[in-house]
């Protein structure tokens, strides 16, 4: 039985559409095993055939190109297989493949992943922009940058650059440089508690209050790095409105020229974002954002906003 913090119980009572019991039941189970095949180094069909020949059974994920649900595998630990070690696939949660897909980078584009470590979404961007595109993967932590570099190496990402910097300062030296930016912001991680139950026990509301200004600053910095007409995706793997709807709403207040685009992936249950929380009423455009709780799709809980920079 997972121990639940008092603050989470209070939050659950404030969120009228949230079912704490269903949430706990879902996060008690491990996330469904999913992989994303490497199309940067190999042909997808070759990889699929090779894996099938070795006893893998895969089912495509409708909302993620190259993403597959693993129905059967030749080893108990997918990370300890020949295919994983050789970089044929990346282990990634099914909903976590959505932010990069929502960003929809075109081949040849230059993308920035502002909070990149450990690199799941960066590697995904690398394969989506292809060999003629460029992905700059940044992180603020030296330790996490090591993991990021390791994963990009395994992915064979010859089109990637790793930088170590505070993402909030990026807008100063890379203003207007990118056509696509991903801000997968640090968050309270309540949507991925299946990976670490202590998140549920340790959650404090003040944590979300503290994170919200940082998240907004990162979104601002990422937006500055965009060319006019470029798009930014802001995502978190949490359910707290202060880190989600509130951040996007504040951002829209400051940037009337910015335009929210709806994120409506095929095959996923989408929840309507909140219109208000506490005493705060959000910008009505926030309803275009994607939101789901872990029990909605039997995966992670995520919040995703896609914003297009005005001229």
């Amino acid at each position: 039985m997972i121990e639940v913090s008092e603050d989470l119980k209070i939050l659950a009572s404030q969120l009228t559409d949230f079912d704490l019991e269903a949430y706990l039941e879902t996060v008690e189970r491990p996330l469904p095993e999913c992989v994303r095949l490497n199309t940067l180094k190999f042909q997808e069909e070759d990889v699929r055939r090779f894996m099938q020949g070795r006893g893998w059974r895969l089912e495509p994920i409708p909302w993620a190109r190259h993403g597959y649900r693993v129905l059967e595998a030749p080893a108990a630990s997918l990370g300890d297989t020949l295919e994983h070690m050789l970089g044929l696939f990346y282990l990634q949660g099914p909903v976590s493949m959505l932010p990069a897909e929502a960003l929809a980078p075109e081949p040849c584009e230059r993308c920035l992943d502002l909070c990149a470590a450990p690199g799941s979404k960066s590697t995904q961007l690398c394969q989506l922009v292809g060999i003629d595109g460029v992905v700059v993967a940044n992180d603020v932590s030296k330790t996490r940058v090591k993991a990021l570099s390791f994963n990009l190496q395994r992915w064979g990402a010859v089109n990637s650059i790793v930088t170590l910097a505070d993402g909030r300062l990026y807008g100063r030296w890379a203003a207007g440089m990118f056509s696509k930016v991903l801000v997968d912001a640090p968050c309270s991680s309540l949507g991925v508690a299946s990976k670490d139950w202590s998140v549920v026990r340790r959650f404090r509301s003040r944590q979300s209050k503290r994170l919200a200004p940082l998240q907004l600053a990162l979104l601002e910095a990422g937006y500055k790095c965009l060319k006019p007409g470029g798009a930014i995706v802001y995502s978190t793997c949490t359910i707290h409105p202060l880190e989600n709807e509130a951040v996007v709403s504040h951002f829209l207040e400051r940037h009337p020229e910015a335009r929210l685009e709806p994120v409506r992936p095929e095959g996923l249950r989408v929840r309507r974002p909140l219109e208000e929380f506490g005493s705060e009423r959000f910008n009505p455009d926030v309803e275009k954002c994607f939101k789901c709780y872990p029990y909605d799709n039997g995966g992670e809980g995520f919040f995703i906003a896609k914003i297009v920079r005005g001229e």
């Binding site: 180094k41 300890d80 020949l82 050789l86 230059r110 395994r154 010859v158 089109n159 790793v162 890379a174």
Partner: protein, 151 residues
């Protein structure tokens, strides 16, 4: 950074690596004994950024006058290799990725590249005892024991 990175002349590098040619649109940069491989576009972008830690992938390392390939280096350059390629069976491929040496008769070459069909799996060092030892970092090796029931 310990060494100043420098672009490598493709003709010199192809000769040193024993490859027919190098993949187009890629730039090879030598820093100390390591060779990294990056796209032209990424290299141009990196020159305008601050705080760059790495770019592209680590492809090869020089030992004396010879080069050995990283796993990614072998996957990038393997198809261009003229010689020094060892084809392995499915079982050998698994053992190789567990770090087990292979018994093979190899003429002359001291460094070889191992592959299973289209899948290149890094380099190996040919020892005097006739075994080929994998030059694969520990963190890229399969850790679990092999099942003995043939599955």
């Amino acid at each position: 950074m310990k060494h100043t990175p420098a672009k490598v002349d493709p003709a010199t590098l192809s000769k040193a690596l024993s490859v027919d040619s190098l993949p187009p649109n890629l730039v090879f940069i030598e820093s100390g004994r390591k060779v990294r491989c990056v796209t032209k576009a990424a290299l141009e972008t990196a020159s305008t950024l601050k705080g760059v830690v790495t770019m592209g992938v680590y492809a090869a390392k020089r030992i004396g006058s010879e080069y050995y390939f990283s796993i990614e280096g072998s996957q990038l350059l393997g198809p261009y290799l003229k010689e020094r390629v060892l084809e392995v069976s499915a079982g050998e491929a698994e053992d190789w990725m567990r770090g087990a040496p292979m018994m093979r008769t190899v003429s002359e070459a001291r460094i070889v590249v191992v592959r299973r069909g289209w899948l290149f799996m890094g380099s190996g060092r040919v020892s005097r005892d006739g075994k080929v030892y994998p030059l694969i970092p520990k963190e890229r090796m399969i850790r679990s024991y092999r099942r003995v029931d043939g599955g």
